[in-house]
Every structure is written in C-alpha cells, then in structure tokens.
C-alpha cells in the first residue's frame, strides 16, 4: 500500500507539470486580452504599456516565460506575482482557500447526511408516499441551478433584502478565526444552496444502490439470522450500498475545493472560485495558472484518497 501511494504521488507531480504547461500554452494560443494593456489603465500611452510588458517579462517568448515560471516554482515554491494586483500569487490564492474550504466542507457534511438519510428511507419505503415525495423533491433539487437557487434563497431569507430576515445575506462571510458564530451563520444559506443538488444526487444514487443490494443473498442471510430489520438495512445493506457514494463524495469535494465559482459568486464569498473568476477577467496569467494548478492538485489528490479509501471499504480490493 505504501509503495502504491508513493507511485501515485509521483504521477501527481507529472500530471501537475502537464497541467501547467497546457494552461500556459492555452493562455498564449487564445489570448483573451493583453495583460499589459489591462494593467496600464484606461488611457495608456504606448510607452507605459511597453514598460509594463517588459517588467512582467511578457516581451519574451512564451517558452522562456514558462521556464522562468517553473524555475521559480520548483526552486522557491514561488508562483510569481499577479499581473493585475501586483501581489504574490501564492498568498493571494492561499488566502482564498479557507473560505472555499469552509463552504465546501460544511456543504459536504450537509449533503452527505441528508442524501444518505433520504436515500436510505426512500429505498426501504420504495414506492410509498415518502419515497415518491423525496424522489420528486430530489428531481427538483437536481434541476435547480445554483445561481437561481442562490438568488431565490437570498430573496426569501437574507437579512438585508429577504422577505423574511433570517440569515445573513451575500457578502457577509467572516473568517472563523474572527468570529466563529458569524462564520457559521453567514455560511448557512450558501451551504444549503451548494448542498441541495448534491444531496439530491446522492439520495438517488444511494436509493438505487440500496434497492439493488437489498435483494442480495447476504441480505437474506442477515434476515435468516434473525437480525432486526434496522440492523439488516444499516449494517448489511447501507454498508455495501454506500461505497459508490463515498467515491462520488471524494471526487465532488476535490473538484469543489478548487473553487465553487457559482456559489461563491452568488454569496460573494472570497474563495478560490472568485479569485479564479477575477483572474480570467483580468487576463492575470499567474493567478489563472495558480488556481488551475490548485484545482488540479485537489482533484488528483481526491482521486488518490478515494482509491485508498476503497481498499478500506472493500476488503476484497488490494493495491500493489
């Protein structure tokens, strides 16, 4: 297992290298705007633009720029400076990780708990009213886009613009280190909005799996032993049916940690998604590169975690 993990981590490095290269090439092949011009302001004189271009190194061929970038990255773990804000990229992005992580981890807890509960109940009560209601609701939740659901949630419940003033609205995010209570209340709406479609998806996934699992021979054995039905469902049924849910959760969390753009934008949470969104608008390559690498890093690590977790969930799985 140890060797397997080491081998996988080496691949992570190779993969991130390729991702950085591709991002670089794409940025130069399909430029959205000239970073130097954007930086120079509204009415730039050509001299200033040239000067900026030179100071940012943009006058060099792309491969020279890439080499310089990688050299600083490998030798000093330095991601360069933002073209637009002229601040170190590493700090700029890492500052955004905490809000995104707060949003994603909280939402994940919410969607896992509710998705697993609803999925289990639906599977056990298949075809009954509660199943129909849950699955109907799940369909609505899956179909509702985050930007719509988020705006509706703000319109109804935000303390500033809402019909009923219950939860803090957009832009109220407070770091947990400043005020844990405010941190929590400010994230309630974003958590619910982000979790809704995932919870619905997980409920449907688990329901389908559990229904299939409950017709397995080993479930009949569990009943033949005289176990309580509750134990049959939870310890024998859900235990098996949950494996794909764990896989999906690992990957979804990995993807979202790289930035939950829509939710962050709707609720104005200063997370990685917002940083990435901004950087694209500003043609701010070092930040784009940084957020892409961070996102790729989370995704490949999530993949690795899921694969390793699988071996713990299913004793039949062994890695060498």
């Amino acid at each position: 297992m140890g060797r397997y993990i080491v081998r996988r981590l080496l691949w992570v490095v190779v993969l991130l290298f390729l991702v950085s290269l591709i991002t670089f090439i794409v940025f130069y092949a399909f430029p959205t705007a000239d970073p130097a011009q954007l930086r120079a302001g509204r009415q730039p004189n050509p001299q200033l633009v040239e000067q900026i271009r030179h100071s940012l190194g943009l006058d060099k061929p792309w491969y020279v720029q890439y080499f310089r970038y990688m050299k600083a990255l490998v030798l000093h773990f330095d991601f360069g400076r933002s073209y637009h804000y002229n601040v170190p990229v590493r700090k700029h992005i890492l500052d955004a990780v905490a809000p995104t992580a707060s949003l994603v981890v909280g939402a994940a807890v919410l969607w896992l708990v509710s998705g697993i509960a609803v999925g289990t109940i639906s599977a056990v009560r298949r075809g009954k009213l509660i199943d129909r209601l849950s699955m109907g609701g799940a369909l609505v939740a899956i179909s509702a886009p985050v930007y719509w659901l988020g705006l509706v949630a703000l319109y109804l419940f935000a303390s500033d613009i809402g019909k009923v003033h219950i939860f803090p609205g957009a832009g109220s995010y407070t770091p947990i280190t400043d005020d844990p209570v405010k941190w929590f209340t400010s994230l309630i709406l974003p958590w619910i909005v982000l979790a809704a479609s995932f919870a619905a998806f997980y409920a449907r996934l688990l329901r389908g799996n559990l229904i299939e699992t409950m017709s397995e021979d080993y479930i009949r054995t569990a009943r033949a032993k005289g176990l309580r039905e509750r134990r049959v469902v939870l310890r024998h049924g859900v235990r098996s049916a949950i494996t794909p849910v764990v896989t999906a959760a690992g990957l979804d969390i990995g993807i979202l940690l790289g930035g939950a753009i829509l939710t962050e934008k709707v609720f104005n949470i200063p997370g990685v998604g917002m940083v990435a969104f901004d950087s694209i608008q500003n043609a701010d390559l070092p930040i784009i590169q940084g957020t892409v690498l961070l996102g790729a890093f989370f995704i490949v690590i999530a993949n690795l975690v899921v694969d390793v977790l699988y071996a713990f969930l299913d004793p039949r799985v062994r890695y060498a």
């Binding site: 009949r220 033949a224 032993k225 005289g226 176990l227 024998h236 004793p315 039949r316």
Partner: protein, 355 residues
Amino acid sequence: MAADALLEVRDLRVEFDTDDGVVHAVDGVSYSVERGRALGIVGESGSGKSVSNLTVMGLTRFQGARISGEVLLDGRSLLDLPKDEMRRIRGNEIAMIFQDPLSSLHPYYRVGWQLAEAVLAHRDVSRQEAANRAVELLDMVDIPEPRRRAQAYPHEFSGGMRQRAMIAMALANDPKVLIADEPTTALDVTVQAQILELIRRLQHELDTAVVMITHDLGVIAETVDDVAVMYAGRIVERASTATIFRTPEHPYTWGLLKSIPRLDVPRDAPLVPIPGAPPSLINRPSGCHFHPRCPYVREAHTRTDPRLEPVPGDPGHSVACLLGPETRRRIWAELRAGLEPDRARRAAEAQETSA
C-alpha cells in the same frame, strides 16, 4: 402425521400477483419433520420447494404474497406470529443455509464477526463471548485453525469452507430445525460429500431436525430419512428414502430416477431426461399438472386432479397419481429392468390386456 413432529407444515399455500397473473408457487403442501430426523424435498427449480421453506422462515421475498395454511413449530403456529416474534425464532429455533455460500456471506465483514452477530442477535452475551462462540462454531464444522480463520474475509475462504462457515452460522444458537436449501449445488463433487457428511453428523450430534431441499437425488440418498417429491407447487410423492429408491410410485419420480446414473441397474441402461420443461405456475396444466410431460398419460388425466393418497399395502408411502396401483407397479418393474419409458408403457399395457 406423527404426534411428536417438531416442524409441521399443513396445507401451505403461497400465491402472489404478477403482471401476467396469479402465480401459485406453493399449492397445498403438507409435511413434517421430527427431532433428529431429516426430510428431503426434491424437485426442479420452480417446483415451490424453496418458496415453501422461505415461507416457513418468514422470508418470502414476494411483496404481497398471499399465504395460507399452517406452520407449527413444537405446536406453536408461526404464520400469524407478529414480525418481531418471528424474528426471534429465525436463526434461533429455525435456521437456514443457502445454495451459494459466497454470495450468502457479506463480503465486507470477517467470517468470525458474521458468526458472532448471529449469536448476539439471540443471546445476551458480551461481544467477547460471542467471538469465542464463533471460533468454537468454526471448530465444530472442522475448519482448521478456527481462531485465525475467524479473522478472514469470505473471499479468503474456499467454497467448501464458506459453506462450513454458513453451517456454523446456522447452528450458532442450537436451532431445533435446520433448513438446507441446495447446500451443495455450488460446490465441487468431492466437497459436496464432505458437506453432506458434516450436516448428517451434526444432525445426529445436536439432535436437529433437518429439511434438505435439493434437485439432486444423489444428495437425498446420502442424507435424509424421508423424501417428499414436489412438482408444480405440490407434493406428488412421499415415502421413506429407501422406498423412494426401491419402489417409487410417481412417473415424475421415475423420471428423476431414470435421469441419474445408478449402480443397481444394468450399466448399458440409458439415462433418460424428463421431456419438456417445468410448467408455468400461472397457467398450470389442467388435470394432473404433470400430464404434458408424462409418458404414461391417459385421456382422463387431463381432466381429473389427483390427490396425494396412501399407496395400498405400503404404510407411510403416498402418491398423487391417476394411474392404478397395479399399472404403476408393472411400469416400474419394466423401467427397473432397463426399458425406456415408451417401451415400458407398452409392455405394461400388454400385460394389462392379457391379464
């Protein structure tokens, strides 16, 4: 019925609705087993042998199945017990082992854990005591190094060991009745014999009543005292094991016997499969349900429904067949001599007309 029957099933009927119509899975089945005895239930797939026993266990899979009749365990009626009381009986007083031990064990839990769980379900013991009991049970079913093996997962066991573990699990709470549903079908022939011997040994040691469900007459010959042959949801013949092999009375039983090799018939006697397929349990054949496949069928058999009746002069033997006792005896004599069904029928008819 014997007065000291431990498990008694009376006129059990199980039917359920499907889109195509009502399935008569079990159609008025009665049997009983005494303490320390073994009953074999033989039949093809779809004959209702598994459904009837799952119903006894309260494990009918079909939702909305209509169940009638009586199931008595030690005189206590099981069919109308509240769910939770039935649960207390399952795995405790009546236990069951299944056909495929690999799919019947949970792949994610250690074997010892799964055994201990069976103990904990019915006994007020500590986890440690249950774990010790699990090891003891594995030892009882001849699994070497039981303490170490208890820590293994089912996929780390061989097929025979898995079935031994299943048997150990079923016997965890010293059940009065053990129902074995095709316990050796998924196993190698050599392992089959070991498993059957194990069940036989434990049956005697623990004085358990055994119901052995199988489609394999070879299994029956080695392990049970009495046999019930099922066809299309009914018992068509019932007798002691020796009688079933020596003087079977039902054409279906003859068919089963003719389709397996035997040592006591001429070696060149051909193996004859039973023609056709088991009937649909939705639209069952009229009259005798076996008539479309019966080589000895007569016109009247398509109208009259035979009842299970005692065989004259043979106590404890009953059969549901419309052929006369004399005719049956003649046909079987010819079949035994190695004739094929068609010729046996003609020979028997010739005797009849000349008589």
